[in-house]
Symmetry: C2
Subunit: 200 residues, 2 copies
């Protein structure tokens, strides 16, 4: 399985491609970072990052794109730009029919290091070890992109099965709710409404 | 000036096109809303909204796209999707060399109704009056998209000048800072460091 991991960001956007199967050694195909200057206006920054992501998608043809799931609880001043980049990445993948998986930072850390609370340095060290690299990828955003890709190689299929089961369960629950509501409406129409006012 | 206004959203994304000049009656060219079902996965939802925005951009060829500036203080559960849509819209405009202007909800309300605290109903009523429509555009997201476009027609050129002045002022300040740092470094190198240790 070839996974393209993206650690979304405007100032630095980490991108990394990993080949691997669960149970086998994963391999780093390419890793890098796209930078855009803060002085450049937002639409142009999104375009620069988008063009680079498109080049990586077309060059490596990944089966899946793994993107960090952004939470609004984080640093308020940067979270909007990060969310906008993640939207752009998801769009560009969807345009190429490449599925997109979102993983939370703690999912990634837990998958890579066994602890959801590992710091950036520990994640970079584990990525270096797992992929058999000579030195830790720099900057941290590049290491994070590889960590996302490794996380997906290892946990993606399982997480996808969980998500599928959840969707099925939700659809079932919705179906039940609808049938209950229908039955209740039918009961009301036929005058058998079990409310106080009808106890004559 | 032709402005395409977008009230970004995944469940409902309002789009409206307005022709106008400051001081003349503005005209509604087209208004609508793109809906995507919550069951559909995120990348596909972004793609559906993106394709519709592209159709509007290509059909109306606006001079500017006006998008609501998203704040993370808002509803946490929807703000990420909204930010992602705004990123996609900015990208698609940038790909066509159409400038993008971001306006905050209170800027829009203040421009349209004179008060930054107008509610959705008041904004819709004012948009209806300003554009001489027979009935208020529905849903509220469609009215909001027109409000954004009208706001930009009326206030855009002024806001753009303010933003330009700010950028210039920041560049000047940065330049001054750099020159001060350089002078300080040069002073230190020549041994004239004005610190206590040098008062022999």
């Amino acid at each position: 399985m070839r996974v393209l991991g993206v650690d979304p960001g405007l100032t630095r956007c980490g991108i990394g491609v990993v080949d691997g199967e669960r149970g086998r050694r994963a391999r780093c195909v390419e890793v890098g970072v796209v930078r855009t200057p803060a002085e450049t206006e937002l639409p142009r920054r999104l375009q620069v990052v988008g063009e680079e992501v498109e080049r990586w998608l077309d060059r490596h043809r990944p089966e899946v794109v793994a993107v960090e799931r952004v939470f609004s609880q984080h640093n308020v001043s940067t979270v909007m730009g990060t969310a906008q980049v993640s939207g752009v990445v998801a769009l560009l993948a969807a345009q190429r029919d490449v599925p997109v998986a979102f993983h939370t930072p703690s999912e990634v850390k837990a998958a890579i290091s066994g602890s959801g609370r590992a710091d950036k340095k520990q994640v970079a060290a584990m990525v270096t070890k797992i992929l058999g690299l000579d030195t830790p990828p720099k900057p941290a955003d590049a290491a994070d992109a590889l960590a996302l890709a490794v996380c997906h190689v290892w946990r993606g299929p399982m997480l996808a099965r969980i998500a599928e089961a959840q969707t099925r369960a939700e659809a079932l629950a919705k179906n039940h709710r609808n049938r209950l509501q229908e039955a209740s409406r039918a009961a009301r129409r036929s005058g058998e409404k079990p409310s106080k006012g009808h106890r004559r």
